[in-house]
Every structure is written in C-alpha cells, then in structure tokens.
C-alpha cells in the first residue's frame, strides 16, 4: 500500500486507560494500538461510550494513561506503568514458590528490569516537554553561535545576542504537547464566556512566552481571516456568534500555535447540516494550507468517509478494524463494522425502505472462550480484531 514510506507522526502503542469507579475500575480504552502518518486524516468511529474521545484526550495528556505508551515525532510523550507492575507482581508470586536457583535469578532480573522501565516511563511522562525544550534551546544556540561568529561589527553581534535571548526564552518555554491541538465537540461549552475572541485565541501564545502585543494581534487577525471571520470579530464575546462561527473560533484557537497535528473531537456533530459543510470545507482548506495531520473523531460515517484517508473502528474500548476508508467501505470484515455501515441513513427513500440493519451482538457473534483474539493484519494495511478461526474466515471472504 506504500504506507511504509510515510513518516509516522503519532504512534499509539497498547494504550490502556482505566477510570476508578467506586470499588472497581472501568476500562475505557483497552489495549489500542495505531499509527498516524504525517499529512493524513485518521478517522476514529464507534458508538458513544466506546472510548473514542478518551483516546483523543489521553493523547493530549488530559488524563494520565494507565498502560502502554504514546510516541509523538519519535519522542515518548505518555507512558503508563500498569503492564510493568503486573509483570513484577507475577514474578514475585512465582518467586515465593520457586526453588530453582537459576529461575530465581531470572525472576529477580525481570523485577529489576521492570522497575527500571517504570522509572523510565515516569521520567518520560513527566519530562518529555523539558527534554524537547532542551533540544530546541540547544539547536537555537548552535544556530546563533554560527551567526554571531560570522557577524562582523560589534553592533551586529549585540543585536544578534538580543535576538538569541528572545528566541531562547521562547524555545525554553516551548512544549512538545503544543504541537498537538484539540477541537472540541461543543462550541458553546469550550469557549470561556468572559473572554473576548482575541483573548481566547491569543491565550496559547501568551502561555508560550510571546509578549509582543503587536505580533500577537497580527497573528490573531491573520488566523481569524483564515477561518472565515473578520478582524472586527476579535473584540466580541463568544455569545455574540452563531454556532458555526463559534466552531470557527475553536478552530482558530487550535491552529494559531501552528500545530502539526489536530485532534478534532466531533467538531461538526453539534452543527446544522449547512454549517457542517462550511466547517468541513474549512478544515479541508486548512489542512492543505498548513500541512496538518488530523485525527478526526466522529460518529457520522458519511462525513468520516468523505474526510478521512484511514479509518479505525472502535467497539467497547477495543479497536476492531482499521484500514483505508475506501477499503473499509468496500470490504468490511468485522461484524460490528458491517452493522455500523448498514445503519447509515442515505437521502434515498426507495432504497432506505428496503434497507435492513444488521444487528451486532458481541456475545452471539464471537466465541473467544479458548482462542484469544488480537488485532491482526489480514491484507497489508487492513487490520481486524479476530482469532485464528475468524482470521481464516475473513481471508476466505476476501478471496485469498
């Protein structure tokens, strides 16, 4: 499929996210892995409560993840410790009954290794921004060192030094996580009613150490015009706008920091059909203009199909199928995907009257009592959550 050539921007590796609920735990996301390539739109669909939004929020470090790790631009930004702790507990349990000396040593090593992994995960999770900032500062210093060395007059040198100080400050405050931004579902709830549009959009820049008011204003106006609003709107408050315009403000806020990646969490679900089309067109334009990578979370399949290059289908915290959007609609394999596709309403009364919805019942559909399932690649680029028997069945379905 030629996917190997593409640069992997975001990699989610065995992500598990649990929430405490009374005595027990709720596993919102259960062992989900996927990759997002640079420049593509990755769609995530599933019914409400299946963990789409939680996945998006975990990537942004809004939650501390329970297990697995998330890599952005090759750097680990989130890491959970659950798997390591489980391994340690298992090893300790075995150690109690074990009598064989060599096995004991082995187990001790496992425990030590996992302890080290936990340390590392904690460090990465906490310090990823600092590591990234340090790298940036170093790069800036190196660049300016060359320039200063090349400068001739002392005035020029001092000017360059001043510039370096400024850049250095910005670089030291830069955080890797700002490269990922989020567009929220509800345009009313996600904008502070007490802030003007200018303040809302500029907030990110101010937090990141930019203090030049003129530069900030310039940026705000530029971005407002880019999302289809006008300069005059900068002084207004969110309640003075319509739903579609509010969503545009949300988009402006997310792209002002020039992120590489945007997580769009149901950005059009709360909007009217006509405004939906406006916002989708806007996102499409911005994507080309700013070279964005978008993770698009939605439940409206026709929009997702229109907008995304690849689609992942989630069901009860698990990724059940993942492939390119054309392939998914042409050859859906997992029964849940089939039931999802059969539920899409189309503007065609005659075929609608004949449409029969496939009902998915996880209990009746699968028998995982002996043969445990996992996410497997059936054909290159097409992953399905299945066990051995089902894998064979799917292959047969595809005519392989």
């Amino acid at each position: 499929m030629g996917d190997e050539k593409k640069e992997v921007l975001l990699k989610v590796d065995h992500l598990t996210q649990c929430f405490k609920m009374g005595k027990g735990e709720l596993k919102a996301v259960d062992d989900v892995s996927f990759e997002v390539h640079k420049g593509e739109v990755f769609g995530l669909v599933g019914e409400s409560g299946c963990g789409k939004t939680t996945t998006g929020r975990s990537i942004l470090k809004i939650y501390d993840i329970t297990g697995g790790s998330i890599y952005f631009k090759g750097q680990r930004i989130c890491a959970g410790t659950r798997t390591y702790r489980d391994a340690i507990r298992e090893a300790r349990k075995e150690l109690k009954t074990c009598t064989d000396a060599s096995r004991q040593a082995e187990l001790a090593k496992i425990i030590e290794d996992n302890k080290a992994e936990i340390e590392k995960a904690r460090y990465d999770h906490k310090m990823c921004d600092k590591v990234y900032a340090k790298k940036l500062v170093q790069e800036t210093e190196e660049r300016y060192a060359k320039l200063i060395a090349a400068a001739k007059t002392p005035e020029e040198q001092s000017k360059l030094r001043k510039e370096l100080a400024k850049e250095r400050r910005i670089a030291s405050k830069t955080r890797l996580i700002t490269q990922i931004q989020m567009i929220f579902q509800d345009p009313i709830a996600s904008l502070d009613p007490r802030m003007t549009v200018r303040e809302i959009i500029a907030e990110g820049m101010i937090i990141n150490g930019i203090r030049d008011q003129k530069y900030i204003d310039e940026k705000v106006y530029e971005i407002l015009e880019k999302v289809g609003l006008v300069r005059e709107h900068a002084g207004r408050y969110p309640h003075e706008f319509s739903g579609g315009q509010r969503q545009r403000i949300g988009i402006a806020r997310s792209v002002v920091m020039r992120p590489e990646m945007i997580i769009a969490d149901e950005p059009v679900s709360a909007l009217d059909v006509s405004v939906q089309a406006q916002v989708i067109n806007l996102l499409n334009d911005l994507r080309e203009e700013l070279d964005l990578t978008i993770m698009f979370i939605a439940h409206d399949l026709s929009v997702v199909k229109y907008f995304s290059d690849r689609i992942g289908v989630m069901y009860f915290g698990k990724m059940v199928e993942m492939t390119t959007s054309d392939e998914l609609f042409a050859h859906p394999l997992h029964p849940y995907t089939k039931s999802l596709l059969s539920a899409i309403p189309l503007p065609d009364p005659r075929s609608e009257k004949k449409r029969t919805r496939i009902v998915y019942n996880a209990l009746a559909e699968h028998d995982y009592s002996e043969d445990k399932p996992s996410l497997r690649e059936i054909v290159p680029g097409h992953f399905v959550h299945c066990n051995n028997a089902e894998e064979a069945k799917y292959r047969e379905e595809l005519g392989l």
């Binding site: 599933g46 019914e47 409400s48 409560g49 319509s242 739903g243 579609g244 679900s269 009217d272 059909v273 006509s274 405004v275 939906q276 089309a277 406006q278 989708i280 067109n281 499409n284 439940h299 409206d300 399949l301 026709s302 929009v303 199909k305 229109y306 609609f329 039931s339 999802l340 059969s342 539920a343 899409i344 309403p345 189309l346 503007p347 065609d348 009364p349 005659r350 075929s351 609608e352 009257k353 004949k354 449409r355 919805r357 998915y360 209990l363 009746a364 009592s369």
Partner: protein, 722 residues
C-alpha cells in the same frame, strides 16, 4: 385517509428587546392519520416553534398572530388551558431535543416513566366511564323518542348492554394481564437459556424466584383452560430448582443442564398459550348476565365462543341494532331540523356581520348564534364537525381581535411616528444612534372585519352543503360503528393499571427502546445515564401515554449512527403498531428518507417546498432544498462540498421578497422585490420559488445532486433486477 391534525395559516412572533421577531410566517400543512410528516430546515427556521405551538408550550413572550390548529374538532389555539392539559402529553406527546433538560434530575427514571401512565389511566377511566354513560343515556333517550311505545323494553336492553360490556371487559382485563405475563415469561426464559448456553454469569436464584412468581400470575380461566395442572407443575419445578441452587451455593454443570431443560419447557408452554384462540368477551359477558344458570365451566374456548356468540346475536344484537338504528335516525333528523333552523337565521346573520356593529351587540348576537349552532350538533355522532364545535370561540375571538385593533392601531401609528421623529432628530444633530425603530404592528381593519363575517359564512356554506348532500344518516352502518365505539370506551373504563403493572410496562418499554438491564436501570437517576440512554428514556416516556400524535424534535441529533438507526426503526415500528402519526423535525435530510411520507422544507418561518418523500428527494425544485441536499456528503462524494454561504436572516427585520435570496446562487431581481407564491409541480408537490414561473430562465439542478439522483436510481434498478 382523514387528517388527524391540520395547521392553517399559522403565524407566530416573539416580543424581544430588539423588536418583534417573526418566527413563523403563515404556514399550513395537514397530517394524515398513521403518516409521518418531516419538517426540515436550519436552526432558527421556525421548526421547533411550530411544534411547540401545537402543544401550546410557547415561551412567555410569544404571540400567536393568527391561524388555527385543528385537532379532533378543536382549535388548539383557542381552547382553554384545562382542555389543553387533557391533550398535551396524552394525545399529542413530544420527544425533546435536549434529553438532559427534559428529565427531572431528582426523580428516579422509573418513577418518571410510570408517572404519566398511572395518572393517564386514572383520568381515562373516569372520562371513558362518563362518555360511555352519557352516550348510552343519549341513545336511550333517542331510541325511546323514536319508539315511544317500547320504553320498558328499551330501558331493559340498554341496561343489559351496559352490564354485559362492563363484565366482559373485567374478564378481558384479567385475560390480557395474564397474557402479558405469559409473553414476558416466554421472553425471559429464552434470554436466560441464551445466556446460560453462552456461559455468561446469571443470578439464577433471583431469576428463578421472579420466574416462579410470574408463572403463577399466568393462571387465567380462559388462557390456561385445562392446563392448570401443567402450570402448577412447572411452578413447583421452578421453586424446587431454586432450592437446589440455594443448597449447592454455586453453579454446577448438572444444575445448569437442568435449568436449561426446565426453561426450554417453560418457553414451549408459554409459546403454546400465546397461540391459543381468544374468546369473544362481549358475548361471554352477555351470557353470564342473561343466563347465569348455564355454567361455561369445562368448555374449551372454541365451544364457549360458538355458544355465546350465537345466543347473543340471536337473542339480543339484532334487535338492539334495529333500535339503535331508529334512535340514530331520530337524533339525526332532529339535528337536521335544527341545522335548517340555523340556515334560516344565516341570511340575517351574514347581513349583520357584514355591516356596522358595536362590540356588545356583536358579541350578544354571536352568543345567540353559537348556542343555536351548538344545539344543531348531533350528539350521537362519533366524529363531530370541527367547525360547528369551534364556532363559538372562533367567532368571539375574531370580534375581540377586530375591536382590539380598532383601538390599538392609532396608538401604534402614533408611537411609530414619535420614535421615528426622535431618531431622525438625533441623526440630524449628528449623533450616532445605536437603536432602530421597532416596526409598527398594525393590522388591516377591513381584513379583520372580513374575518368575522368569514366565520359565519363558513358555517353557512358547510351547513348548506350538508343539508343538500344529506345521506339520511346512513343509520345501519353508523349503528354498528357506535357499538364498536361503546366497546372501546368500555374497555378504557375498566382497564386499571396498578403500580406493579406500570412497572412491568415501563421495563418492557425500556427494553423496547434498547436499554440493557432495565430492571436495574429502573431505579437509577438521570445522571447515571449516558446521552444516548437519556434520549431513549425520553422517547420511552413520550410513548408511555400511548399518544395519537408523536412530535419528535430532533430526537437523534445527539446520537451516533447505530443508536440513531435503532431509534428510527423503533419509531417506525411503533408507528405501524399503534397507528401513530408522527411529526419529525430535523435538519438532516438523510435521516428522514425512510421515515417520512411527506416532507416540508422550512426556511425563515415559511414552508418553501412541500411534497412526498419521493418528490423532494428525486425531484427537488427549490434552491434551498438543493443546497441542503448538496451540503451533506454521502458515501460516494469526493468533490468539495457545496456549503450554503452566510447565515439565515434576522427575522426582526425580515427581508423584502424571498428570504433566501441573499444566500441563493440563482437569485433573480424579482427575488429581492416580491415574495414567490407556491408553484405546483405535481398534485402532491409544490415549491415557493420564482424559478418555477413560466417566464423564469431555465435553471438546471446542480450537478452534484443530479448525479447523485442518477446514481441512486441506477442502484435501485439494479437492485430490483437482482
């Protein structure tokens, strides 16, 4: 088919600080019984306002400027609040857009669902009893008047009918209760067997206890005739199995197999019961009343049916129907005479209301006319003439309206002149004025005057036609209809819903709308539910009262596709089962494709296109419909979406001409000057756009849509061939 609801020339506006906002500007539509009407449009187009005015729940600052909403012979805009309370939520119920704000946060879900059922049942019993008694008394009166010599016989006959119906329906209630328990046991047994076979965790002790309890309630004289022994055997087996479970303290393989075997047996048994024949209860009731000495014990249902139906028809029904026929004819003739009386008065009335009059004289004469018209309504008619029924309120309302504007118009003119002057003076001084003059609300007095006479003329015309086309009452058919109606009323009068029955019904409803583990959910609070679940609860509540009309205000907008499809299917199913008429409001045309029979596209408070689903989807004519269709992608869309630029107009200052002109690619000069009338495309399809005028330039449907329609047609054809 008859129209169940008619909206005529409805106009609604809102008083706001900025001026009067015209939310709905003169719309008319009709809803047929058992059909679905979809109202489609952007937010702010007046869809929700229309539905809310049907239910009479507009906000406090709303003014209904005119029009009428006819339901069941009543104009919903004019009836009193007490009458409205009987209709709202009971006959017409609504599913709201935002489930969070339409549920009470401090009351458990179960209580919220059962509340309406219990209250409605209580009211219904009273109402039906009253209607039954009143109409039967009326019928008796007329029957006696028609045959004065047979008074004692007729009195005896009506008494028999009353007693037979009531006793029959008591039996029927018992039967249906037992039947519903049988149905439930059947389903539960099947569910448990499924779970057990799949090795799922089931609380067998609890389930078996409940099952035994319910099995006992299945026992009924007619339902389990001759099978009582088998039933009690099953009950004791179930309790025995439960005891074994308690003793074992855990699930074992042998116990599981035993349980599966027993449950399958129970399932078969209840399945068999459900297939049994149903007795004719009215005949049985008659038999029990007339011949209490002849016992029906030990007979099978078929034998009972044969015997009782025969005896009732021969001894009673034939005679009763003849008498009822004569009674109906008598009352019909009396009403007809009264109608002729009204007609003779009409010439004078028309003259009076077309001339000059004072308020008090117009009102007193109106009241006199109204009582004449009311006296001319046939009391035995099952479906009553709506115009005659609302004559009093609509005439008096029109008179009041006229005299109000006689007083109000000069005041309003003066206010407008004063404010305009003030504003112009300020502008002349060179000051910036940040307010606009509120447009004046002045109505044409001539039109209002005509409105008054029109009410009288309508009743005149209707009565003239009625008298001319008189079918002599068609008494034979009507008498049979009336007997059916009595049966319906009687069944409502004796149908009692107890708390536990309401709970079972609520749990069934919750299961129907797709809520897992309804028994646990029943006792939870709204905050414990997710968004989709809350929406389902709201739908369950709306359905609990068993309404005639269901208004769905964007019920699936907040839900994802699978649940959306489930809920649409659910509404469709209920529509077919309960003969429900649905008004479905949405902004997503795709959703209504398989729901709607008719579609009305609304923009800026007006219906711009109206037609059947096929008309609107395969042959859209209004540019706004084109825009709506092309702004949503379907599965084959690749090109850039054709979004509608801009936002809907501010309806405080409605634009001249066509409201959509400013956002319309195809707008012509005339669109900015004059409002387009409704151009008929076919009998069922019209659109309000100047493009359909014969002089308009030919404009093709946008390519994206025509291609899509082509594609859909091809697909349908190939599907048909296959």
């Amino acid at each position: 088919m008859a129209n169940i609801l008619e909206v005529k020339n409805l106009k609604v506006s809102f008083r706001t600080t900025g001026g009067t906002l015209k939310a709905v500007r003169d719309i008319s539509f009709a809803l047929e019984r058992g059909k679905t009407l979809a109202i489609v449009g952007e937010s702010g187009s007046g869809k929700s306002v229309t539905s809310r005015s049907i239910l009479g729940i507009l906000a406090g600052n709303a003014i209904v400027d005119g029009g009428e909403i006819l339901y069941d012979g009543k104009d919903l805009l004019k009836i009193s609040e007490e009458e409205m309370c009987k209709i709202r939520g009971d006959r017409i119920s609504m599913v709201f857009q935002d489930p969070l704000s339409s549920l009470n946060p401090i009351v458990k879900i179960g209580r919220q669902i059962t509340e309406a059922m219990l209250l409605k049942n209580k009211g219904n019993r009273r109402r039906a009893r009253k209607a039954f008694n009143n109409t039967l008394a009326e019928l008796r009166k007329n029957m006696i008047a028609a045959n004065p010599s047979r008074e004692t016989e007729i009195t005896e006959m009506t008494k028999t009918f009353d007693k037979a119906a009531i006793s029959a329906l008591k039996m029927e209630t018992a039967y249906t209760t037992a039947y519903s328990y049988a149905d439930e046991v059947h389903e539960t047994a099947g569910d448990i067997v499924f779970l057990l076979e799949k090795d799922q965790k089931v609380n067998m002790k609890l389930e078996l206890k409940e099952l035994a309890k319910k099995l006992q309630k299945v026992k009924n004289r007619f339902l389990t005739q001759g099978l009582d022994g088998e039933l009690s055997g099953l009950v004791s087996e179930t309790t025995e199995l439960r005891r074994e479970y308690v003793q074992a303290g855990r699930n074992t393989v042998s116990l599981k197999q035993k349980a599966i075997a027993l449950l399958t047996k129970i399932g078969d048994f209840t399945g068999r019961l459900e297939a049994e024949e149903k007795p004719d209860f009215l005949s049985v009731g008659y038999h029990n009343y007339k011949h209490p000495e002849q016992s029906l014990d030990g007979m099978s249902v078929e034998q009972i049916n044969e015997k009782t139906v025969k005896s009732m028809n021969e001894e009673y029904m034939k005679q009763f129907l003849t008498y009822a026929e004569s009674g109906l004819k008598y009352s019909h003739d009396a009403a007809l005479a009264k109608k002729k009386e009204v007609l003779s008065e009409m010439a004078a009335a028309r003259k009076f209301y077309e001339g000059e009059y004072t308020k008090s004289s117009a009102r007193s004469y109106g009241k006199k006319l109204a009582s004449m018209v009311e006296a001319s309504i046939d009391p035995l008619e099952v479906v009553k003439d709506s115009y005659a029924y609302t004559f009093r309120s609509s005439l008096l309302h029109a008179i009041d309206q006229y005299f109000y504007f006689v007083k109000h118009n000069p005041k309003e003119e003066a206010r407008f002149a004063r404010q305009t002057k003030k504003r112009e003076a300020l502008i002349a001084k060179g000051k910036t004025v940040d307010w606009k003059v509120v447009p004046k609300r002045v109505l044409d007095l001539d039109e209002l005057h005509q409105e008054v006479s029109k009410t009288v003329v309508t009743i005149d015309e209707r009565y003239t036609r009625y008298v001319a086309e008189d079918t002599n009452g068609n008494a034979a058919e009507r008498s049979r209809e009336l007997v059916e109606w009595f049966r319906g009323q009687a069944s409502e009068a004796v149908y009692r819903v107890s708390k536990s029955m309401a709970k079972e019904k609520a749990i069934k409803l919750m299961k129907e709308v797709g809520i897992p583990e309804p028994r646990i959910r029943f006792n939870q609070y709204p905050f414990e539910f997710s968004g989709g679940m809350r929406q389902r609860i709201v739908i369950a509540i709306a359905l609990a009262a068993d309404p005639d009309i269901l208004i769905c205000d964007e019920p699936t907008t907040a839900l994802d596709v699978t649940i959306q499809a489930q809920i649409l299917e659910l509404i469709n199913k209920l529509k077919a089962e309960r003969h429900l008429s649905v008004i479905f409001i949405t902004h997503d045309l795709g959703v209504v494709a398989n729901m709607a029979d008719d579609i009305a596209v609304m923009y800026a408070g007006k219906i711009v296109e109206y037609g059947t689903a096929d008309d609107v989807f395969y042959n859209p004519r209004h540019p706004y419909t084109w825009a709506l269709l092309s702004s949503m992608p379907d599965l084959d869309t690749k090109e850039k979406l054709d979004a509608i630029p801009g936002t809907p107009p501010n309806m405080i200052y409605p634009p001249e001409g066509d409201a959509f002109a400013a956002r319309n690619k195809y707008a012509m000069q005339i669109d900015y000057e004059e409002e387009p009338p409704q151009f008929a495309v076919s009998d069922t399809h019209w659109a309000a756009t100047w493009l359909l005028h014969p002089d308009a330039p030919k404009v093709e449907i946008p390519k994206a849509i025509s291609e899509r329609i082509e594609r859909m047609k091809r697909k349908n054809e190939s599907a048909e061939q296959a």
